[in-house]
């Protein structure tokens, strides 16, 4: 056990990489989620179809296969990605596809009356989405987003297959050196479990922040009521 602890530095480096991968992956996934997700509810076929194909493709293929393909097959087509970039790209695109479905169905499940009320007030589609639909859909999206984020975290060990030096890759290396199989693998399980809990906590905090029935903080109330001469 103590032999393993000698490699502390390696574990910290690996953890750093894992966290970085997770954050960047989630960032890309969110960008994809909202762009592809909104394309999916567009009135125009030319936007809806690519979105559908994108989502079905990434949900229908294995993330592991995608990782390998991005790193080993793309060079044959002239695109050489470094392993970290390939990892972030695949993680983001893959989980982004799931997140896009969440965005699309959350907005679609809003009562039609909200859209109609906004149309009656002369709001254009972009404005409707921005001010009325998305703010109401976000609270519904967050719990499912939380699951997607944790799934992304749980997918990061796969990048060790393409030699990204994340926590798993380094831990496997230490195992080869020390043969402390049980300690290392059980330790990995616990480490990822804890990281997952942290993500779940962050999601829970986000859910509270974006909840619909929030009352404005008493100190902010004058700002929220807006406009001069508000003390009527």
């Amino acid at each position: 056990m103590s032999e393993v602890l000698e490699y502390k530095g390696l574990f910290w480096d690996g953890l750093e990489q894992t966290i970085l991968l997770t954050i960047l992956g989630i960032g890309l996934a969110l960008v994809i989620a909202f762009s592809v997700g909104l394309m999916g509810i567009s009135r125009h076929r030319v936007l809806r179809s690519p979105a559908y194909v994108f989502v079905e493709f990434f949900r229908g293929t294995s993330i592991i296969v995608q990782l390998f393909w991005a790193y080993y097959a793309l060079p044959f087509m002239g695109i050489k990605l470094d392993s970290f970039a390939a990892a972030v790209l695949v993680l983001g695109l893959n989980e982004g596809a799931y997140a896009a479905e969440i965005v699309r169905s959350a907005i679609k499940s809003l009562p039609r009356g909200q859209t109609e009320g906004a149309i009656a007030l002369g709001m254009r589609p972009t404005l409707r989405l921005r001010r009325i639909l998305i703010p109401q859909a976000v609270p519904a999206m967050l719990p499912s987003f939380g699951n997607v984020f944790v799934d992304l975290l749980k997918a990061t060990p796969l990048v060790s297959f393409i030699a990204v030096q994340d926590l798993t890759f380094n831990a496997l290396g230490v195992r080869t050196e020390t043969q402390e199989t049980t300690v290392i693998f059980v330790g990995l399980l616990v480490a990822y479990f804890v990281l997952g809990l942290v993500l779940a906590l962050i999601t829970w905090l986000l859910e509270k922040r974006f909840a619909l029935d929030r009352r404005p903080h008493p100190l902010l109330r004058p700002l929220v009521s807006g406009g001069p001469g508000v003390t009527r």
Binding site: E56, F57, R59, G60, T61, S62, I63, I64, V65, Q66, F68, W69, Y72, A73, P75, F76, M77, G78, V150, L153, K154, A155, T156, P157, L158, F161, T168, T181, T182, F185, V186, L188, L189, Y192, F193, G196, L197
Partner: protein, 217 residues
């Protein structure tokens, strides 16, 4: 893009072998997951002291940790304690154990989704408990969870690629072997297409099942 069609035709049969192994391990893995998940669900529903809590913790832990690490643990750690399993058996166990944590939840949700009124009507008609379960509750509960279980089977089919990490020559493993020996473009692309060719129609079928059996979704 330089696609070597001859090479592709050459390796295709080998990839099909890999696909067959993938299908086998996913089907058996799902069978194990269904069985194990049912046991877990029943124990937790019956609220057997200590065992229920242990299983709840087990489910949480399995769901909260990566499948790959679980695969390593089962394949490399168990032998340290005297349990050595074949590659294929390990594969089935890895997939089955992981997914049982999800199927257990599905069983629970399915039972709870049966409206309270059904239980109350059964009581009002003086049906005995076992009849209530077998004729009223389970048939309705199962109808709603079939689509979800269908989705899990498809997911497991794709997740089986992880077994490449413990050296199994399923579809991905075969593709990698070929890639290392020769070119990577054709094996990986064909493998990707094969995964898609199986999972996309299966997903459509499951969605249709969902519309038929759980139309409230």
């Amino acid at each position: 893009m330089r696609w070597d069609a001859d090479y592709a035709a050459d390796i295709f049969p080998k990839l099909l072998d890999g696909l067959w192994l993938t299908i086998q391990v996913s089907l058996l893995g799902m069978a194990l997951a269904l069985l194990l998940g049912l046991v877990i669900a029943v124990v937790r529903y019956a609220k057997i002291p200590l065992l229920s809590q242990v299983l709840t913790g087990y489910v949480l832990f399995v769901r909260g940790t990566p499948l790959l690490i679980q695969a390593f643990t089962i394949y490399y750690v168990l032998p340290e304690y005297g349990i050595t399993l074949s590659l294929f058996t390990s594969g089935v166990l890895i997939l089955g154990v992981n997914y049982s944590a999800y199927t257990a939840e599905v069983y629970r949700a399915g039972i709870e989704a049966v409206p309270r009124g059904q239980w109350e009507a059964s009581t009002a008609l003086n049906l005995p408990a076992w009849r209530t379960w077998t004729r009223i509750v389970l048939p309705q509960g199962i109808a709603t969870i079939i689509p979800v279980l269908g989705n899990y089977q498809i997911q497991m089919f794709k997740d089986s690629a992880i077994l490449y990490g413990i050296g199994m020559t399923e579809l991905l493993g075969t593709a990698r072997e070929l890639g290392v020996a020769g070119r990577s473009l054709e094996p990986l692309t064909i493998a990707g297409i094969l995964y898609l060719v199986i999972s996309y129609p299966a997903a459509i079928l499951t969605r249709r099942l969902e519309r038929r059996y759980a139309p409230t979704h």
